[in-house]
Each structure stands twice: as C-alpha cells, then as structure tokens.
C-alpha cells in the first residue's frame, strides 16, 4: 500500500489521510538502535529514570515533602502517562505530564519551578511515563475534550511556516517516503520522553513538536499553550493503541 500511496502522490493526486498507518518509530530503527532501546542497561534514557527515582523521594519545598510522601511508590502512577494529555473539567484546560508534574511541584510542594526540558523535570516525567511502558495510548477525546481535540486536528492539518507544510503533509501523506536518507515516520509520540541521537539527549513530546515547527521555519508554540497541548492530544489519539515505550531511542 505504501508504494501505491507514493505513486499516487507523484501523480499529484490528493491522497486520503485515512490511509496512513499507525506505526511506532521503533519500526524504522536499525538493529543496533533497537537493541539499544530494548536493553535497559544500555538504553541511555534509563539514566533519566534512575535520576527520577532519586528525585522521587527527595524532599522539596517549605514542608519538606517528596513525591513519595503523597504518591507512594512510582508504580502507583502506572496507567497515567498513556492517558495524557487529558482535559481537566475543573480548570477547563488540557494537561499533559509536564503540566501535572510542574503543578505538583509549584502548588503542592511549593518548591522552585521546574523549567521545561530541564534535567529534573525530564527525570521525573521519564520515571512516571516509564511506569506505563507496555500500556496502550488511550486518550479521551470526546465529551468535554472534543473541542480541544478538533483544535488539535485542525492544527495538525494546517500548513505553517515559511516552508508552508503541515504535520499531515509529511507524517500522513508522505509516511514511508525518504527525505534525504531518512524515512519519514508516522509521527507517533508513544516513546516520549525519549533519547534522540540528534539531540544527544532526552526530550519531551513538546520538544519534538518544537523541533518540527522550526524545521518548517514556523514560530514555535508555547509548550504550556492550549494550542500546543491540543496538538499533543491529537497526536496521542493518532497513535491510540500503540504501546508506550518510554524511554524510547530514536535517531
């Protein structure tokens, strides 16, 4: 089917978005990188899981409370990350894993804020997402979340930046084609936070979205904005059923 898709594209026909396949980026890895991800002793992302475990029981803020004091063992949060982002009815806002950890840190512990993509925030979010490794992505997109979901879908389809490309242009219509030497992925986010060789480090879903926006010369989105979180919700829904791989390894 991939061949048919590409042929249709070369002919200039519009290809239905429904033909895109749900495929984890893991499928595009060579044997060596698969082995790196699969081996917890070799996987560089596990360093952040280890750092997260140390932070988990570390007291912070005026009351000297740790994550452990309220949540107990990190395993208590299994089944959380694969359901994020979620729409919070009280605040009427979407929240992703970064939002939850940052809110806990600032409002419950009343400790110093954890900046986006900081080592401590990545350590905690990687530890928490790692608890759900093997569970299917399963976000709620109906009911109160439906408006945000539609906003995310529109964002995915909207061409942007000087290069005037949408997420869908590449990750849906061109999935499997080769951009220079790289095979275009399906744009799935089931491995985040993940270790990316390009970054020589770990990054969140929102870091990847930022990277993509910059690649098409678009103004990056504020990772706290509802627009950015709506796009993340739509991306998670596109990957529904794929199992969480945190910490995944990608090129």
């Amino acid at each position: 089917m991939r061949r048919w898709l590409l042929t249709a594209l070369l002919l200039g026909s519009a290809v239905s978005a429904e033909h895109a396949e749900r495929q984890s980026g893991y499928a595009l890895l060579g044997d060596e990188l698969r082995a790196l991800q699969d081996d917890d002793f070799a996987n560089p992302g596990m360093l952040w899981v280890d750092a997260g475990e140390r932070l988990w029981s570390q007291a912070a803020g005026p009351d000297g409370r740790s994550c452990q004091d309220c949540h107990g063992d990190p395993t208590s949060l299994r089944g959380l990350a694969n359901r994020l982002p979620r729409f919070d009815a009280d605040s009427e806002r979407l929240k992703n894993l970064d939002t939850l950890v940052r809110n806990c840190r600032e409002q419950r512990q009343q400790a110093a804020a954890l900046p986006h993509e900081s080592e401590d925030l990545l350590a905690l979010t990687t530890l928490i997402a790692h608890q759900s490794r093997g569970l299917p992505l399963d976000v709620t997109v109906d009911g109160a979340a439906s408006a945000a979901f539609e906003q995310g879908r529109a964002s995915f389809e909207r061409r942007r930046g000087q290069l005037d490309l949408s997420c869908a242009d590449c990750h849906e219509r061109l999935q499997g084609a080769r951009l220079r030497g790289e095979t275009i992925s399906a744009g799935m986010i089931n491995g985040f936070p993940l270790y990316r060789l390009t970054w020589e480090g770990l990054g969140s879903r929102q870091r990847m979205i930022r990277w993509c926006n910059e690649a098409v010369r678009a103004e990056p989105m504020n990772p706290d904005s509802q627009g950015a979180l709506a796009l993340e919700l739509y991306l998670a829904w596109r990957g529904r059923g794929l199992t969480l791989e945190t910490p995944a390894v990608r090129r």
Partner: protein, 175 residues
C-alpha cells in the same frame, strides 16, 4: 536549449499540449490567465518581483540579472536555500542520500521548458494545491512564520532564475 534569463520568446504549450499527464487535479485555464502574484510581501525588499502565469508556465524571468546555472546548482544544493535533493534525485553530491518524495529531476530539462520549470519552482501549488512541494517564490498567506523569515519567500527571484537555468540544463547526462 534556450538559456533561462534570456528574454527570447519561449514556445508555450497549447492547452492540448499540456494534456492530463502531469497534474490531473490542476485547474488549467483554457485562455491566458493574467495572475499577478507578489513574489515578496515586503515592499522594501530588493528582490520583490511580480510574475505572470500563462498556461502551465511563467514565460518571463523573475529577475533581470543574467541567470547563472552554476550558481543555481549551488543554491539547489545549499541546505539553507533550495535543498532540492532532500526530496528529489539530482546530479548533486551524495546522491545515495537523496530523497524520493518528489520526482527524479536528473533529466528535467529534457521534459519541461524553462517557463514550466519556473512555475514549478516558484508557485507549484498553482498547478496542484494539494502538492507537498512548497511555492518557493511566494510569501503571501503563510501562517505562523518564524520571525526571521517573515514576509520572505524561500528563494529570491535571482536564486529561482539561477536554479531554473541549472535544471533546464539537466538532460540526464550528468552522473
């Protein structure tokens, strides 16, 4: 082959010549269309140009300067400028890392006239709005453009002319 950049008359395809082969979804006008498009939104920019689409080509060069095929080859290879080989097979270094998103252009000069190539580089989505290939010569109606690139098309008029001259010279004989 006519050198791009020379204002000599170029044979224009008639409607029947265009046929349905290249772009089945394109709305090709039966008569000459006078579409004036602003090349660069910033009126103060030196490379600001307008162009006229006739049939499935842009007959006149976008820049008055003489086109330079060698400079076009460099602009096509430059990852910050054309970066054409990210999607197309072309006679440029590291051919094995070339993309396959768009058609093989190794002999494009034998298939298309300079006006046809010019339109496909500058405003390809005029032919097929669904195409992934961006309009390299247009900066209007863009969303969320990064500040450093706001109001500028991807390529300048001169770069487009240089690239058109280089592409028009490709007949498949280069390795």
């Amino acid at each position: 082959m006519p050198a791009a950049g020379t204002p000599a008359p170029v044979p224009m395809p008639s409607v029947s010549d265009m046929g349905p082969t290249l772009h089945p979804g394109a709305r090709l006008p039966g008569s000459i269309l006078a579409l004036l498009l602003t090349l660069a939104a910033g009126a103060a920019r030196a490379d600001c140009a307008t162009f006229e689409i006739v049939g499935d080509g842009i007959p006149l060069p976008l820049s008055q300067q003489t086109a330079d095929a060698d400079a076009g080859r460099q602009a096509a290879a430059d990852r910050q400028r054309g970066d054409c080989s990210i999607c197309h097979q072309l006679p440029l270094p590291n051919a094995r890392f070339h993309g396959n998103v768009g058609p093989d252009l190794s002999a494009i000069g034998a298939r298309l006239t300079p006006p046809q190539i010019r339109l496909r580089v500058a405003a390809n989505r005029h032919l097929n709005p669904e195409s992934v290939m961006p309009d390299y010569g247009i900066s209007r109606d863009r969303h969320q453009v990064a500040e450093a690139f706001a109001g500028q098309p991807i390529l300048t008029a001169r770069e487009i002319e240089d690239i058109v001259a280089w592409l028009a010279s490709l007949d498949g004989s280069e390795p």
